[in-house]
Symmetry: C2
Amino acid sequence: MLTKKSKYGLKAVLVLAEEAGRGPVLVSDLADRHRIPKKFLEAILLELKRHGLLQSKKGKGGGYFLSRKPSEITVGQVIRVLDGPLALIPCVSQTAYMKCEECGDEKTCGIRLAMKEVRDATAKILDNTTLAGLNAKVHPPRKGRRRI
Amino acid sequence: MLTKKSKYGLKAVLVLAEEAGRGPVLVSDLADRHRIPKKFLEAILLELKRHGLLQSKKGKGGGYFLSRKPSEITVGQVIRVLDGPLALIPCVSQTAYMKCEECGDEKTCGIRLAMKEVRDATAKILDNTTLAGLNAKVHPPRKGRRRI
DNA sequence: ATTTAGTCTATAAATTCTATAGACTAAATA
DNA sequence: TATTTAGTCTATAGAATTTATAGACTAAAT
């Protein structure tokens, strides 16, 4: 399961993507917008900042904003920071490999084999889904004709 | 993350698949084979039995065995019983749909969109991975030439 | 100086995961 | 039919993780 932490983080970051270029957004605004406990969200944004996905500005006129363009930040990156590896078992993680405690022999582990496939498919999707891309799919440009 | 429950359950069930047709296997044997706490494994197997994946026989010469052929039981079925839906958020589950508590509008939820893709990819893999198939991949027939 | 708003540490409440204990029931067989 | 074997069921406990909340502190703006 995706934790609330990741869910909240993603919601916030998607808003920051919408607002990109218009200056910092208040934690309070982000929290209100999606009814996220403010203090919890603060911790989440801080973690994203520490990992380089966000930047912030203190004091009046402060708030959070994306470190990179919305088209250069993926859902996979956000989830990895907040929930850890995408892989369902540590021994198939690309970014945080670990031997499973109880594992006898990785080469003959069927579970590992199946989970590897799942991890790869998941990573392929989430590492190619950018904030910009996602927002575009969900908030399509109004009526009007498509730009040429 | 896959819980130990699912991991243990899958390991047990893969052994039962190997032993299929040779009569019931003792819980103790399954537990020993993979160093699984016996009482915990009992609970797991019972749950799989309740969901119709396993059958059991009490008394001397008893034990557990698969309800169907190893080629007719999938990893997806086992995981759903033990860990619940494959979907990372309830609103994209096919087998156990639920509205997300904090969700405003599903149609404009980017997270849902991304998670739907992941669920579908995961289900496609796990619902097509049978116990027989997995065992075959991992314990390939010895030397000898391939049957014609 | 004052107000605004993010930073950091600590801790608490709730939930879920992992495991264990023990009494009970069904089946086999001697 | 008594005994042994092995699964069934209920209850509960310990550990870990998730989900927050409180409060003191720091940087920036005016």
